[in-house]
């Protein structure tokens, strides 16, 4: 837990700088390079996840307080559901139907 007396919001500033770098990095890779679609998507997808992590840990203090563990489980569960819903739906809606 953070102390009340911190003078300078160091973690916030760092987080902010990181997220700016990640955002512009992703934009640069997507818009200015000629990598293949797949490679680009993997890279910028990873950057997005990293940046979400920064928000969760450096801004939202996910693990803070007596329910830190619960929060982490909650978010992991949310991520699991996201994967099931997004990947599952796309797979089920596009697989098979071989001739449609």
């Amino acid at each position: 837990m953070e102390k009340h007396t911190n003078r300078f919001p160091i973690s916030h500033v760092l987080g902010f700088i990181f997220s700016l770098i990640l955002t512009f990095g992703a934009a640069f890779i997507a818009l200015k390079t000629n990598l293949s679609f797949k490679v680009i998507m993997w890279i910028i997808g990873t950057l997005a996840v990293l940046q979400a992590g920064i928000q969760l840990f450096m801004f939202m203090h996910l693990r803070e307080g007596e329910d830190g563990k619960t929060n982490v489980i909650n978010i992991i569960y949310g991520v699991f559901m996201t994967v099931v819903i997004v990947v599952g739906s796309i797979w089920v809606m596009s697989a098979g139907h071989a001739t449609h």
Partner: protein
Amino acid sequence: MKKGLFAFLTTAPLLFLSGCESKLVVFDPQGPVARSITDLINWSLIWMLLVVVVVFGLFGYIVWKYRERKDNLDYEPPDEHGSTILEIIWTAIPILIVVALTIPTVKTLYALEEVPQGYEDKEPITIHVTSADWKWIFSYPEEGIETVNYVNIPADTPILFKLTSASTMQSFWVPALGGQKYTMGKMETEMYLIADHPGSYEGQNTNFNGRGYADMKFEVLAQTRAEYDKWVQEVKETAPKLTEEEYEELLKPTHLGRLTFSNTHLDWVNHADHNSKTYTHPELYRGHGYQGKIFEEEDNYRNKTNDDIEKHDHHEDTEHGGDHSGH
């Protein structure tokens, strides 16, 4: 009283299965596709009956033996929390049963997508099935004929049904010949069926689609090859031609009897095509009650000329990239 009930519960299924003089259609397959499913079902029934018998037996025994009686009122049950061995047993056995069910299931699932075994070298006949409210349209592209609400096929020949819908989502099912599959607008699903012998089999829609649903049935008539060829020839010679206007009329929500044509609607529209026009008639579906707003659809057949359709094709490759190809 309770015992009687449980006896009924356990024996009733057997009675029904064996005692009926006319077999239930699912247990009386008339072709290799349906047969492979029936085999799978029979296999599963063996295991399910085993589960039912064992658990019912255990249940009856325990409930009977440990019920409260006048003479055991001072019996204090032991403080018992569980048993690792027992719990492992009743986890492991169901797992094994599930595995025993999974393997043939997966095999059958894959087999059902292919021409049935033993028929690979027989040239399959392709029939396009278009479901509409509330009728079935069958197009024979090779023969250039079209039928409504009945379909004639040669026996002992694999038929490739290509399924699509001009309206709602429906399901094509001929239980004596095989399982069902949905028909959906602007896409195509496929299914192979074979009839062992000449005969008449009932087919129907199983996926609810409004007022006329209950009567959405058709007949599959399996004929000998010679009969079939003769029938095709006859249709070609005697049946009228279907016009686009007639066809549009036909797609309206109605019940029709049997119809036969000596051409197919595939000449001007294949509803399986992603960019085909939409043929909807919201105003004809108004029932009782308060009516809501309906929207004019740009791609409805009444609004568009063929040039517009062509415009769509510009996007053909972007639209159908990746694994969605071949629409």
